[in-house]
Structure formats: structure tokens, C-alpha cells
Amino acid sequence: MNSKKRKAERAAVESPERLSSATTPPDEASEQPVPSIWLRRFASVLIVAFLAIVILGPLSNPIASRHLTAPMAAYVSPIHRALFLGHGYRFFAPNPGPSHLVQYKITRADGTQQEGTFPDRETIKPRLLYHRWFMLSETVYSEHAQTPSPREFERLNLSRLQQVKALNKGGRLVLARALEATRQREEEAYQRTLKRIDVLVRNIGQFLLEREGGEEIELTVVTRTLPFPAEVRQGADLDDERFLQYEANPVIGRFSKGNFAMAGPSSSANVEEVQP
């Protein structure tokens, strides 16, 4: 019985026509010929390669192994970008956290002020558009708040330099070289991140200033913490002020119309940074 079954399976692999009749349910009867064995082999290689590229996304984002998945992901990253793959798929992970808002204060030429927040469910509709603004405020927060300040980074950088010196002194040259390379990479990445935050905040500042009309704009980030069940049981509302948490230095940008060329292809007004 077993050998008969084996023979039938082998025949199915070798003969595409038999494969079709053996595996296709009657209601899916094929009118299209099954590809030749060489075409199937070629397609199989493509499928395996493609799935490897797909799975490298979540294997390298947000965390990657520097010995395996990081270099592999770097190699296929142009394909990830071109096909919009390479995502981490960590929805609501590791924990659903608090949300982050961007508040802005616009000063007009006559001295009047206008305050606003995004995302704002009252003014931004439909809901999907609101969610886009929400994601933008989350991006601003993650770019800004999760990046150390230049002073903090400098402290970290100096401590790394001292470590490198100590390793060199102790004769551990290989380790010293590796640490120095890491330090340089991190410094480069940090400068790039700073520039990126700067461009993003300027873009947003300019856009709001143009849309709302005004002379100056100040942008701040706010965290809305999650209430505990006990607080809700006692009648707390989710939009209660007490859940808003401001950082020590919440201002992320302060700009005014002037001669400062803003980033962005659609820029028509010039905006000047008042305070760096």
C-alpha cells in the first residue's frame, strides 16, 4: 500500500498533468495547464527568496541581530522600500501605551493668540484623517522625546571615548577598535536623527502657520497618560487635565515668519527659528 502511495505521489511530482487532476477539487477543474517542472522549480526559488525578504522585516525591525539579521536586512532594504515591506508588525506591542499630542500656540500680527492641538477629534474629520494626524503626533513624540538631548549624548559619547582609551591602554586593541567604530556609527546616526527631528518640526510649524495665518508659532509635546480602572470607577473622564503630563522642556520648536528657508517642496512662506 505504502509503495503504491509513494509511487502515485512521485508520479504526481513528475507529471504536472497528473498533479492537476490529483490535487484539484472537481469544482476547481483547471483549464490552464500546470507549469512545467522547471518553471515550478524556478517559481519555488523565487517564492522562498521572497518570503525570506518578507520575514527579514519583522526579524530586523524594531530590533535586529547585528551578526545576522541586521546585515541581511540592510542588504535587502532597497527591496523593502520599493515594495513597502520590512515592517515589524508589532501592533500594540510590547504594551499599549499612553498617547502623545502636539499643542501649538500661534501669535498673529495684532497680538492675538490661537491655541490648537493635534490630533483633535472635534475638528479633524473623517476619522481616518484624524488617525493620520494622531500617527503624526506619535512620530513627532517618538522622534523628539526618545532621542537624548545633545548634552546627554555628549556625556554618553565622552564615556565611550574614555572606555576606548582604557581598552587601548590595556592592550585590548581589537575591542577598542570595535567600540570606536560603534561610537562613530552612533554619533553619525545621532546627528542624522537630530536633523530629521528639526526638519519634521519645522515642516509642521510652517504648515500650521500658513494654514492658520500668523506670525509666530510654538509647538509643544504632551503625553496623555492612561487612567487606572479605579480612577475611572470614581468617575474620572479620559480627557481630564490630570492625565496630561508635560515634560521638563516640552517646547519642541518656536518659529516665526522671516527669512529662514523652511524644508519642504511646497514652502511658500519663510519661517525663522526664534529659539533653537
Binding site: 498533479l19 492537476s20 483547471s30 490552464q32 500546470v34 522600500r81 515594495l83 510590547p94
Partner: protein, 322 residues
């Protein structure tokens, strides 16, 4: 003396048996692989996925119109910002968007043409062509609006990409109606439909597996309060579920169920016994995300992706004339 030839004979027999069993193992594997990827399938399930994905893609692209200057015209997210997201110029160039190649004045008319293409794809008109263009459009808009994206865009891109390689216009489409006039009206099965369906299935398993594994790192998913964290988030909340604060045991139950469902999906969606259970559980989970957390499009697109696990013949009954 007499043991030696016997030993050789035993060794030879074992070697033949091993060879035979390893050959059989490989041929079984090859047969299963061929059956999995290359069994021709009709387009019915993919056509349903096309209509639903196309509708959601159309709405998603339409919504960009309301803040076109900000998100698509580069007011909020500039090319400079997007270039700084990537490590190499090649990577940056590959994160393409067709809006980068045209001037601001032409962008709105091109956006309208894009909407028309997605509408035609949804209706199944010139589907082989409009499917490819729709996938390119979804990718292009996503690359353009980096920083304002979420899961919806990732799953939309995934589905449209696989629909583009399929013959999803062979059923429930204008193409089908036009083709029927000159044929016997029977639906043809295609290997490309099988490959597209399998890619959606495997990719979806990867999505759920990593979504689940990511949650395993969070203490809130283990102490059973993660769902509370989502429901009590003011920015997400669309339906008031705060009454759950009186029933935290229920919150914990839903949290753990969602965790195990996501982690187990990649394994339990394949067996016939557990597949219906996993698909049925997907409905309340994604609808809850859609309705209670204000991400209806995301909840729906995840459900649409799950349709890939429903056999084509389920949609095929009495549809010969469609």
C-alpha cells in the same frame, strides 16, 4: 570470518532502506510543496478580496484629499525628512513615490486619476493592468506619507501586491462579464491565483506571529490589562467601554485570549479542525479594534486578509454566471 559478509549485507540493506526512505521523504515533500503552491485555483476568493481591498484602498486614498497639501504635497512631511529616514541614497531612492516626479500643480489631477484607477480595479475593469497600478499607487502614497502611517497601510500594500500577480479579475468583475460573451462561461483556474492566495496566507501568518511575539515582551499582556490600555486611551476611544473597569476579570480574559490567538494563529489556522475557530475569533477581535478604537479600516482590512483562508469553492457556488 563468517560475520564479515553478513555485516556488509546488513549495512547494504540499511543503506538501501535509508536511501529509499529519504527519497520518499523528499518526494513527499516535493509533492506537498507543489500541491500547496501550484494547484490551480479559481479566482472567486481573490475576487472578493479584490472588491473589499479595492474599496478600502479607494477610501484610504480619497481621505488624503482632505489634507492633500499637508500629507501628499509635502507640507507636513517633506522629501528632505523622508530622505533622512534612510541610511543610504539607494534606499532613499527606492522609497519612491510618483508624486516626487511631478510638480505641485499636477499632483491633484494625478491623484484623481489614481482614484479612478483604484475604482476600476475594484470593479474589475482591465484588472490585470489596474491591479498592478493599484499596488503601485498604494505603495507610492505610503512612501509619500511616512510618519502618518499605521497597520492599515502595511496590510493594504501587502494585499494589493499579491492581487497584482493574481487573476483576481476573472470573477465578479466587468472583465468577467465582457469575457463571458465570447466564451462558454466557465471559470478557469490559475496557478497564479494559488500562488497569490498562498502568499497572502503565509504573509498574514508572519504578521500575526510577530504581532503576538511582540506582545509576549509586554507585561501588560501577561497581567491582563493590555486591553484596558487600549480601551481607556482617549485618542483611540470611539465607543465608551469604560464599564469594563467594573469587570477587570473580563478585560484579563479578552487580553489573554487575544494574545494566545495571535501567537497561535500561524499554527492553528492550517488544520481543518481549528481553522474555523481561528477565523470566527478573528471577527470579534478585528471588529472590536475597528469599532471601539476608531480604526475601522484597519479592522476591516485584517478581516479581508483572513478571507484568503476560506476556500475559493465557498464563493463559487451558483456563481458560474457571474
Amino acid at each position: 570470518m563468517s560475520d564479515a559478509p553478513m555485516k556488509t549485507s546488513v549495512e547494504a540493506t540499511t543503506s538501501i532502506e535509508t536511501k529509499t526512505s529519504s527519497e520518499a521523504w523528499f518526494s513527499n515533500w516535493a509533492a506537498a510543496w507543489n500541491k500547496f503552491w501550484f494547484t490551480p485555483t479559481t479566482a472567486h476568493a481573490l475576487a472578493i478580496i479584490r472588491i473589499l481591498t479595492g474599496s478600502i484602498a479607494f477610501y484610504t486614498l480619497l481621505v488624503w484629499t482632505f489634507d492633500f497639501d499637508g500629507f501628499i504635497n509635502g507640507g507636513l512631511i517633506s522629501r528632505e525628512y523622508r530622505d533622512l529616514l534612510y541610511r543610504t541614497p539607494l534606499e532613499s531612492a527606492m522609497a519612491w513615490s510618483h508624486f516626487d516626479w511631478i510638480g505641485p500643480a499636477l499632483r491633484m489631477p494625478v491623484h484623481m486619476v489614481g482614484l479612478l484607477i483604484v475604482a476600476l480595479f475594484t470593479l474589475g475593469f482591465c484588472t490585470r493592468f489596474t491591479a498592478i497600478l493599484t499596488a503601485l499607487l498604494v505603495i507610492s502614497y505610503s512612501n509619500r506619507a511616512m510618519g502618518a502611517l499605521f497597520g492599515l497601510d502595511q496590510i493594504l500594500a501587502m494585499l494589493t501586491l499579491y492581487l497584482a500577480i493574481s487573476r483576481c479579475g476573472d470573477a465578479f468583475s466587468i472583465d468577467r462579464r465582457r469575457a463571458k460573451r465570447g466564451s462558454d462561461g466557465k471559470h478557469s483556474a490559475s496557478v497564479m491565483n494559488a500562488i497569490a492566495t498562498r502568499l497572502i496566507q503565509v504573509h498574514l501568518c508572519i504578521v500575526y506571529l510577530f504581532a503576538g511575539l511582540g506582545k509576549c515582551q509586554g507585561d501588560k499582556w501577561w497581567d491582563g490589562e493590555a486591553i484596558w490600555g487600549s480601551m481607556a486611551n482617549h485618542e483611540y476611544q470611539t465607543v465608551d467601554m469604560l464599564w469594563l473597569s467594573d469587570h477587570m476579570w473580563l478585560v484579563a480574559l479578552i487580553t489573554l485570549l487575544a494574545l494566545f490567538w495571535e501567537v497561535g494563529y500561524a499554527a492553528l489556522i492550517w488544520p481543518r479542525l481549528t481553522r474555523p475557530i481561528m477565523l470566527l475569533l478573528a471577527i470579534p477581535m478585528h471588529l472590536a479594534i475597528g469599532i471601539c478604537l476608531g480604526m475601522l479600516e484597519f479592522g476591516l482590512i485584517m478581516l479581508v486578509a483572513n478571507i484568503a483562508f476560506i476556500p475559493a469553492r465557498f464563493f463559487q457556488r451558483d456563481s458560474e454566471d457571474r
